[in-house]
């Protein structure tokens, strides 16, 4: 009876929708030069503030319209996605590796290791994260690697806390004791018995964190602290759109929708993945 839920094997619509959007966005950014209808940096004052395709005065080839310098919005969003995804993958993966490793150690070994790691996490989380990020980038200097580093440095604690709690509950399971009886050492038990059981949570968090990294990167670009101002970024486009909201709302609205869809997809994708793994657990 308790295993009846195992039957739920198929891919949920949530996984399809979220995954679909992410794959689409990812492919678009990878093949940006082939797909983007225009050069994202090409300015043309004759074409400034063209509306999106279904409104009067739209030009073919400029599907989502142009900004106040006449640059094609769709192309800028596609190229901006490159930065967003690079930051998302690199920053989230670094934060995940650091945080999960420390969380696993703290949760499974306990004692001094746990006390030290937990204190550090507590102190870390006392900083307001966005302010912390701005501060870090200001110190590290702007640029792609600084942004990635800043996000990783701030957000590893998210992984650490969750994985620590899960590892602690795993450590109480009989199969951990059973592995000691079998002759495994502490590291062996951590890798063989504990790690596989916390992995679904790691995966879900990783996906969620990618969404968060996209937001943080957008915020940093918004305050002009991300990468060089020439390359389009979603945050940068939003910042520019804000200035011309009354003349050209689309420059603000489309990047916002893109951002929200992407972040939502990351978190939903993670949850759906975890749910898919979970039935095996119980």
């Amino acid at each position: 009876m308790d295993d009846a839920r195992v039957a739920r094997r198929g891919l949920s619509p949530r996984l399809w929708l979220a995954g679909g959007w992410l794959v689409l966005a990812l492919l678009a950014t990878i093949f940006a030069p082939l797909i983007a209808p225009q050069d994202p940096l090409a300015q043309d004052l004759m074409l400034e503030r063209l509306p999106p395709f279904w409104l009067d005065g739209a030009e073919p080839g400029y599907w989502l319209g142009t900004d106040s310098l006449g640059r094609d919005l769709l192309s800028r969003l596609i190229f901006g996605g490159r930065i967003a995804f690079i930051v998302a993958f690199a920053a989230a993966t670094s934060a995940c590796l650091l945080g999960s490793a420390l969380g696993l150690i703290a949760g499974y070994f306990g004692g001094w290791a746990d006390r030290i790691i937990s204190r550090v996490v507590d102190v870390w989380m006392a900083f307001p994260p966005v302010l912390f990020a701005i501060l870090l980038v200001a110190v590290l200097g702007t640029g792609l690697s600084s942004v990635i580093l800043a996000i990783a440095i701030i957000d590893w604690t998210r992984f650490c806390r969750v994985i620590r709690a899960e590892a602690m509950s795993q450590a109480r399971m009989d199969y951990v004791e059973s592995a000691r009886i079998a002759g495994y050492g502490r590291i062996g038990i951590m890798l063989r018995e504990v790690l596989p059981n916390v992995l679904p949570s790691v995966v879900a968090l990783l996906s969620l964190e990618m969404g968060i990294a996209v937001i943080v990167e957008a915020i940093l670009s918004f305050v002009n602290l991300s990468i060089s101002t020439d390359d389009p970024t979603w945050g940068g486009i939003i910042a520019e759109g804000r200035l011309s909201i009354h003349q050209a709302w689309w420059v603000l609205v489309f990047p916002l929708i893109t951002l929200i869809l992407t972040v939502l997809s990351f978190s939903q994708f993670g949850e759906a993945l975890k749910a898919r793994f979970d039935p095996v657990l119980r």
Binding site: V6, M173, D174, S178, I181, A182, G185, P196, V280
Partner: protein, 274 residues
């Protein structure tokens, strides 16, 4: 009687008492076992019985050295193992195995049954002919060979406990601790598991420590019994002697409290005032 496998003298175990842990600092120690002396003869099944808080599980965990005694000694084949380190214990693990109470929690949901039974073999230098050995272990406990590729959630409660037994016996250990191994099972399954353990113990000449709260089960399986209460041994003797002629009041009370499946109108009558 042959030389004992285990010889326990003045055994005390103290564990941190989390209910009295202060806000800052360590939890004070509470003495769970308060000085135990007994021998476990080779090739015998010994029942360790008691109610909750008696310390029977703690005793079991000290015997297989998942816990370190705070005082006294545990000799295994004449060697004092009470304070060996994890590394020193490793070569001994092969001979000290355990079957757990909850077969759900004792099987890792992420590993196949094969991987679960193979783990102790690999760790103890029996990694050659792994397939053969696992197949043998499965056969011994009466599970079909195709179970090797299954996971915990694909098995029934009784099948899970068979896997637990297969894992413990795969190494042909000298001692097996069985900690309440049937308390979570239905009666019909319980009977199967117990008769299986009874058969294997006899065939393999195992020495078994059989922890249980159920004296009925102990009578069938064990040659001698240790009755525990609040960290001390109340009574220890050969099984028939204990059941036919219990010396201590507590043992008699325990026996009288078992509801046997037979009609007895007086059983629920309040005790006559003494």
């Amino acid at each position: 009687m042959a030389e004992p496998l285990f010889s326990v003298r003045g055994l005390k175990v103290a564990l941190p008492d989390m209910t009295r842990k202060p806000l800052i600092g360590r939890a004070p120690l509470a003495e769970i076992l308060k000085g135990l002396d007994f021998d476990l003869p080779k090739g015998s099944v010994t029942g360790i019985v008691g109610e909750s808080g008696s310390g029977k599980s703690t005793l079991g965990r000290a015997l297989v050295r998942l816990l370190e005694p705070s005082a006294g000694s545990i000799s295994f084949e004449g060697r004092d193992i009470s304070h060996l380190s994890e590394a020193e214990l490793r070569p001994l693990r092969r001979d000290l195995q355990m079957i757990f109470q909850d077969p759900m929690s004792s099987l890792n949901p992420r590993h196949t049954i094969f991987s679960i039974i193979a783990a102790p073999l690999r760790q103890n230098g029996l990694g050659d002919r792994l397939k053969e050995r696992v197949a043998e272990a499965l056969q011994r406990v009466g599970l079909p060979q195709n179970f090797a590729s299954r996971y915990r959630h694909e098995l029934s409660g009784g099948q899970r406990q068979r896997v637990g037994i297969a894992r413990a016996l795969a190494l042909a250990p000298k001692f097996v601790l069985a900690d309440e191994i049937v308390s979570g099972l239905d009666v019909s399954t319980q009977a199967q598991i117990l008769t299986l353990l009874e058969k294997l113990a006899a065939e393999m000449g195992l020495t078994v420590g059989f922890i249980s709260h159920d004296l009925s089960v102990i009578r069938r399986l064990c040659q001698q019994v240790i009755v525990m209460r609040e960290g001390r041994i109340v009574e220890a003797s050969a099984t028939d002697a204990l059941f036919d002629n219990p010396k201590e009041t507590y043992t008699r009370d325990l026996l009288a409290a078992i509801p046997l499946p037979e009609i007895d109108a007086d059983w629920l009558r309040p005790k006559a005032p003494a």
